[in-house]
């Protein structure tokens, strides 16, 4: 496989049974590159957290994975309610998850914080009643 690639994955909101499918696929693709394990792992975790957020809160979304010579770029865009207070949402422990999300073992309020931890640069853009766009960059 070439050393760069670009690929998109759709995510449907509310399909909890699918949670993690995209992330497992992303990790599989990244494994075909010459990327150290801890970096693969960070990219997969950031993708998983983003994926569960789209499923939990949005109507639908897309994960766009791009691998360049020196970086892994993961863009996650959704159509959904957006985030009214990003600073608050970034705090550990803050969550608006419902019981259904919590029964699955999620909704602890660690997601965005964990994504930030896994990224080299992390940007979050959100507009209420429109959607959210996460821009995750991890150096190879």
């Amino acid at each position: 496989m070439s050393e760069t690639c670009e690929i998109s994955f759709p995510i449907e909101g509310d399909r909890f049974e699918d949670a993690g499918k995209v992330s497992v696929e992303v990790k599989k693709i990244l494994k075909t590159f010459d990327i150290p394990n801890d970096i693969l792992r960070r990219a997969a975790i950031a993708t998983y957290e983003s994926e569960i957020n789209v499923i939990s809160y949005a109507i639908r979304g897309t994960v766009n994975l791009r691998v360049t010579d020196d970086r892994i770029l993961i863009d996650v865009e959704d159509i959904g309610p957006g985030i009214s207070d990003i600073e608050q949402a970034m705090q550990q422990g803050y969550s608006t998850a419902n019981d259904r999300i919590r029964e699955m073992g999620f909704g602890a309020g660690m997601g965005l914080f964990n994504i930030k931890n896994c990224s080299d640069t992390f940007e979050i853009l959100s507009e209420e009643w429109k959607g959210t766009h996460l821009k995750i960059v991890i150096n190879r």
């Binding site: 949670a19 993690g20 990790k27 394990n37 073992g105 999620f106 660690m110 931890n117």
Partner: protein, 126 residues
């Protein structure tokens, strides 16, 4: 300890991965909160949990857990086991409760993959 030794110690049933019982395990992370597994578990650790949905397998694959150890006698649904087979994650099930399971493993040399969570004084859900 190897997975085989863990299975013997906890009288656990090997539900998936009978060919992977020689895997060596040194650390563990126990939680029923997958958010916390994603945030805190380290590569190579064994995931100890009472959850049985397919997500536990995908998460184990993503954080590089060596295996999943189900407690309280939980038996996962078929789709969880199919996924475990596909992603090559061994799954064991013990009747011991989480506390007993963790204590018995600790007494036999398995330690937490992290000791404490660093950061703010407390994480209070708002």
């Amino acid at each position: 300890m190897t997975l085989r030794e863990i299975a013997d110690l906890l009288d656990a049933t090997v539900l998936m991965g009978k060919n992977h019982l020689d895997i060596e395990v040194q650390t563990a992370f126990a939680a029923d909160l997958m958010s916390d597994v994603l945030a805190f578990a380290k590569p190579g650790s064994i995931m100890i949990t009472g959850l049985t949905n397919p997500q536990i397998v995908r998460i184990a694959s993503i954080v590089d857990n060596s295996a999943i150890l189900l407690v309280r006698g939980k038996i996962p649904p078929e789709d969880t086991l199919h996924l475990a087979e596909e992603l090559e994650i061994p799954v064991l099930s013990t009747r011991y409760i989480l506390f007993e399971t963790s204590g018995r493993l600790y007494a036999n040399g398995i330690v937490g993959c992290v000791r404490k969570i660093e950061g703010p004084e407390s994480v209070v859900p708002l």
